[in-house]
Amino acid sequence: MTYSADEMMTVSAARALRNGMTCFVGIGLPSSAANLARATHAPELVLIYESGTIGAKPAHLPLSIGDGILAETADAVVSVPEIFNYWLQPGRIDVGFLGAAQIDKFGNINTTAIGGDYGNPKVRLPGAGGAPEIAASCREVIVVVRQGSRSFVERVDFVTSVGYGSGPGDRERLGLTGAGPKKIITDLGVLEPDPQTLEFTMTGLYPGVSASVAKERTGWDLAIATEPEIIAAPTQAELDALRRFQGARARSHQ
């Protein structure tokens, strides 16, 4: 059975979601993984998109967070002020599922600008969107992002969304109500925060991925768990479901 690193990442991210959870979904990789989870082991996963669609059940992957299929299949569609104020802010949502352009060893996320300074950046990224408050207020956060030495950095160029700030105690000091990022799921494996230092540590690797490759593709001095879990390869059922979804999206574009 052959599969790509991206497919392994998406499957691994989907497995992190449990049936019956409520999940605030970012677009891109997180949306693919959340929809895969709903199509496989978590049929009662509640998908919430910032467009105000609560309990969306799309039959194919949406391109945007506001595709018609999300509104048409949702349990409820609410306004944008309401989704943030009534649903996200009070801590009703179990897990925030986010992407990142740049992430640091304390799980802080940059989606604003890279290089240069803010007024004159080398690369201007889209910006915050819903992520700062998702990162602050969901009970916990999972980040899905490809691992690379330029995207996994010691300290992000701009803190768009706060992970653990500069270490233990920062979330409490800042009054952030959620527990923060519990996992970073990449195309190499899974990172989790060290219980003492909160620095992200490689605790799981996909079949065939070595610790040295993980270190090379990380911009900080990455700690690797003494015995990292070898994460199971995608099952045929997982791959079939993922490819069915992606094929359906390709067809919906024609």
Partner: protein, 272 residues
């Protein structure tokens, strides 16, 4: 009472050089036709306000209509960058672009404050982010500040109200008196319109009576300045019940916007 006029007339009467304009629509019901009319009428020096600038503001920025952008997420959803926006920020092409940058929750609450006639709104947000630091930095007019709850003593975040000169939205329907009805993902349009001094609403159709729809927002005629009939006026965004989001157009825009020459050709077509 809303006046029912042509789109050209609505834009001519409502939107002036230097205005602060909110063209809202969260992925759904984005008022593209109205945006193109603003380009055609060559408005300049605009402050554009919008949570998700999307292709519509990429086009207005590239066309040189914009001085300042107030926003929270400037990407091409599911595709990548807004290249005209990036070219303006990274290379000042065709002109420098001033930014006032927020999170979605902050922007949504700023509109709520504007619609409520309050100077600010309160939320839990921004703590520890670079957005908060930027806002307090030199040269910026502050829009984010800590505030103490008078009941509990807890520190929360205040964001200043947004009060645009003009709101521009697209809706499914209006009746002949200019009452407007929209449904599906209704985003922040109601708040944006009620926060604004004037408004332009384009609609898919004008009908004799608005039959009730589940989850619909109705904006009474007396809250709206101008209604214009523009079928498919949200394309390549969509109007639930009338059209589907043209995801291929969003994907194809990437190559057009990436290249100044290709963009200029696109612009010539719009202006023709």
């Amino acid at each position: 009472m809303a006046e029912i006029v042509s789109l050209a007339e609505a834009v001519e009467r409502a939107i002036h050089d230097g205005d602060a304009i909110a063209m809202e629509g969260f992925t759904h019901l984005i008022p593209f036709a109205a945006g193109h009319e603003v380009i055609r009428q060559r408005r300049r020096d605009l402050t554009l306000i919008r949570m998700t600038p999307d292709l519509i503001y990429d086009q207005l920025i590239g066309a040189g209509c914009v001085r300042k952008l107030i926003f929270s997420w400037g990407g091409n959803p599911g595709v990548g960058s807004l290249h005209r926006f990036r070219d303006a920020v990274e290379n000042s092409w065709p002109a420098a672009l001033e930014l006032e940058e927020h999170s979605h929750a902050g922007m949504a609450n700023r509109y709520v404050a504007g619609a409520s006639g309050l100077p600010f709104a309160v939320l839990r947000g921004y703590n520890g982010t670079g957005l908060e630091t930027l806002d307090a930095g030199p040269g910026s007019v502050p829009t984010i500040k800590p505030i103490t709850c008078p009941f509990t003593g807890e520190t929360l975040t205040a964001v200043s109200a947004i009060r645009p000169d003009v709101a521009v939205i697209h809706a499914q329907r209006a009746d002949r008196s200019g009452n407007v009805q929209l449904w599906g993902i209704t985003g922040v349009q109601k708040e944006a319109l009620l926060a604004s001094q004037r408004s332009v609403v384009t609609v898919e159709e004008i009908v004799d009576t608005l039959d009730p729809r589940p989850g619909a927002v109705v904006l009474p005629s007396w809250t709206v300045s101008y209604v214009a009939h523009v079928a498919n006026g949200a394309h390549p965004s969509y109007a639930l019940g009338y059209s589907a989001r043209d995801n291929d157009y969003y994907a194809a825009w990437d190559a057009i916007a990436r290249d100044r020459v290709a963009f200029s050709r696109w612009l010539d077509e719009v202006l023709r």
